[in-house]
């Protein structure tokens, strides 16, 4: 039992984080002195214009790149330096599907599980379970080149979910799908995250999507800095939502 007065460690914390690219003398600033805290169990939608640095932030959370200055911590650990500590704790859906072309759909989904101590049978079973859940029954043994863009995207979502990691990072996971499928998966995604008490950060271009799944919407301006940080809950009225929607819209169209 944790005493309620002990503040819970934020799941993700950006402290004065900057990321520069290119020549250090005249760098390109992709993320500029960003501070952000995301709590455990939160579902955060990151909204922002194209090229504003969302994927760059995302890569730092994922531990794929290190900040130029400042500090990124996840669960109190450094995702870039403490490589092994995060095994099985983070799952990512990338902006493009990034399936291994030499593996079939089911083997692609198994990839994350292979890094963990799971038996062959368990891996296969879980991979098939997730493929079916995402509507890919019958395509288990297809190679990525034989799948449509949306199907590949769903395989990569299945790959992320199959590992049952507590932190989910999704870079426009539903962008390659039609509206109806995207809506259905979005709802399913939100339900799964809530039910399993996961923390999720997802990047999106769509204001509707942000409202559908986020209980917090962070709007970024360029270079990545927070323009708005909005928390939604059951008490948020429709009028309030409409106002927020308009505010986000204005901020994105500047």
């Amino acid at each position: 039992m944790t005493a309620p007065e002990i503040a819970e460690e934020a799941e993700i914390r950006f402290e004065n984080v900057s990321k520069h690219f290119g020549n250090p003398a005249a760098p390109f600033v992709a993320v500029d002195e960003l501070d952000l805290e995301i709590d455990k169990g939160q579902m955060v939608a990151l909204l922002g214009k194209t090229g504003c640095g969302k994927s760059t932030m995302f890569n730092m959370i994922a531990g794929l790149s290190a900040p130029t200055s400042g500090r990124v911590t996840l669960m109190g650990h450094d995702p870039f330096k403490e490589f092994d500590w995060f095994r099985g704790k983070i799952a990512i859906v990338f902006q493009n599907d990034r399936l291994l072309p030499w593996r079939t759909a089911v083997k692609n989904v198994e990839l994350g599980l292979e890094m963990l101590e799971t038996t062959k049978e368990e891996r296969r079973e879980r991979a098939i379970y997730w493929l079916h859940k995402l509507g890919l029954a019958g395509h288990e043994d297809d190679y990525p080149h034989a799948l449509s863009g949306g199907m590949r995207q769903r395989v990569s979502i299945a790959r992320a979910f199959a590992t049952n990691a507590e932190l989910l990072l999704c870079d426009e996971p539903f962008s390659a799908l039609d509206e109806i499928t995207s809506k259905r998966l979005r709802m399913e995604f939100a339900r799964l995250v809530r039910e399993n008490g996961k923390t999720a950060v997802f990047i999106t271009h769509s204001i509707n999507e942000a409202f559908d799944i986020g209980d917090r919407i962070v709007v970024l301006k360029r270079p990545a800095q927070i323009a708005h940080d909005i928390r939604l809950d059951a008490a948020t009225s429709d009028e309030e939502k409409e106002a927020i929607r308009r505010m986000i819209h204005d901020s994105l169209s500047q």
Partner: protein
């Protein structure tokens, strides 16, 4: 440009398709053989021997163990040299990719090596080492090593960064990472490297066999030269060519089996 409705084109029977493919494959050789045969009618036999004689000679080598063991010995030397060069090249390649300093140190040396003719290595090997097999192995490795190293470096550097990061995001252990990511993505280029180096090695091996070996295709060729026997020279050369073809074919089989996953476009290059 007119586009024909594919359903209107009479579909050729599989038998005739195979026949046509075989014909296309052997056509160039038939032409060369015919030209040779014609030449053999006009020139004395010791310059352009009849292909019939060459054929019997080839068969003779195939069927006599004492002769064919020369071919096997040469084949083993090629494969041994390639395997050695590949292993060392892979290690060097990994080191070069991992450290800029090693790259700056090793790459010029390897390029320098590439400029040294095989014959010079033969001379060095004779002066430096005893033991025929060791000399040959040394020559084979040292002549194919630079190419193998550069090909491994190229394959590693060409690995998709996106896929690499995707796999890394699952935090694999080192061995796992090599198994699921590095090996499958470099395999196509490694196989191509083997094919290319096989051709080079088969040309170097006969020179290497001049270091005093008492067997092998290179040694036999030297004998034919001393006997002024063109038929024999051709027959031994063909043995080596057959081996290269056989091994190329095996590599191609591996390729087709390993790369089933590749999408094939209906448009050609």
């Amino acid at each position: 440009m007119s586009v024909q409705d594919p359903s209107l084109v009479p579909f050729p029977s599989p038998g005739s398709l195979v026949a046509r493919r075989v014909l296309r494959a052997v056509m160039p050789f038939v032409v060369i053989a015919a030209a040779w045969q014609v030449a053999s009618q006009f020139f004395p036999g010791y310059l352009f021997p009849s292909l019939v004689d060459v054929f019997w000679r080839v068969l003779e080598i195939f069927t006599s163990w004492s002769a064919f063991s020369n071919v096997l010995a040469t084949a083993m030397r090629i494969l041994g040299g390639l395997a050695g060069a590949f292993v060392i090249g892979a290690v060097l390649g990994f080191m070069i990719v991992q450290s800029k300093m090693i790259d700056r140190f090793l790459s010029p040396i390897l390029i320098f090596f590439q400029g040294i003719p095989a014959l010079s290595w033969v001379v060095f090997a004779i002066i430096w080492f005893h033991g025929t097999e060791f000399r040959i192995l040394f020559i084979m490795i040292v002549t194919t090593l630079p190419a193998f190293t550069f090909q491994v470096v190229g394959a590693l550097r060409g690995m998709s960064k996106d896929l690499l990061e995707m796999v890394m995001s699952f935090r694999p252990k080192r061995m796992k990472f090599y198994k699921v990511m590095v090996l499958p993505s470099v395999l196509p280029e490694i196989l191509t490297a083997w094919k290319v180096n096989l051709g080079n090695a088969s040309r170097v091996v006969v020179v290497a066999e001049l270091v005093g070996s008492s067997g092998g295709v290179g040694y036999q060729l030297l004998q034919q030269q001393q006997l002024f026997d063109m038929t024999g020279a051709l027959a031994w050369t063909l043995q080596l060519v057959f081996f290269v073809l056989l091994f190329q074919w095996i590599l191609t089989l591996i390729e087709t089996a390993a790369f089933r996953y590749r999408a094939v476009s209906e448009r050609n290059l």
